[in-house]
Symmetry: C2
Subunit: 101 residues, 2 copies
DNA sequence: ATTTTTTATCGCAAATGTACGATAGATATT
DNA sequence: AATATCTATCGTACATTTGCGATAAAAAAT
């Protein structure tokens, strides 16, 4: 049986969409997501170099994107790289596409 | 020549997306947008009946959606109906679709 | 082993967001 | 004209968000 998003009921759907949208609702975070889309993965420091805000603030934004499930900190042997969380990204994509039919 | 969103430069694009996402970043507001998508237009009171929050709070949420340009208060002779702002909705749609390619 | 680099977290301040009841203003009904 | 209905706004309280510098903790380089 094929798994689809149709199983998510209206309310969960609404909340999931709101959560993703909220996490995307800051231009710094959109910029981060766009960068990760292009560059696959990168370190916090790479983003700090690009963005006009402090390291601690970048770190906070990353945390929020991570909490929303849109990105993930991939734990390589000794390093942490941030990547798009492909699974949730797919869900967000579907929710938005479906929402904006 | 076909007009496309490619003309919007990166920065505007990012900010527009963030603005739409932020406005959509609350489950009450997603619920309102969904309802307007289904019902075309409706009055504030109709939404107050559906939603589990006070009239003044609904009104505030409508104001935010209006400020973001996602809906518009259509001024019929004596009444105000809220509708999707089709023009901006189309833009938001395109931005999101393009973002989540 | 020490130092440097990298990243997360703490503590704080300021700004913004959420929600409510009360009230005002405007439209519709009687 | 008076009353009822509908909607926006005000004032308030509380919570969350944003941003920073400082610091801590962990990893990498020397």
């Amino acid at each position: 049986m094929k798994r689809s998003l149709a199983h998510i009921d209206y309310k969960e759907d609404t909340e999931a969409l709101a959560k993703f949208a909220k996490a995307s609702g800051h231009s710094t975070r959109i910029a981060i997501l766009k960068h990760l889309e292009n560059q696959s993965c990168c370190f916090t420091g790479d983003l700090v170099d690009i963005l006009p805000i402090s390291q601690s603030t970048v770190s906070q934004h990353l945390k929020e994107l991570k909490n929303a499930g849109l990105i993930q900190g991939e734990l390589k042997p000794q390093k942490i790289k941030y990547c798009i969380n492909q699974e949730n990204w797919k869900i967000a994509k579907l929710l938005f596409q479906q929402f904006f039919d």
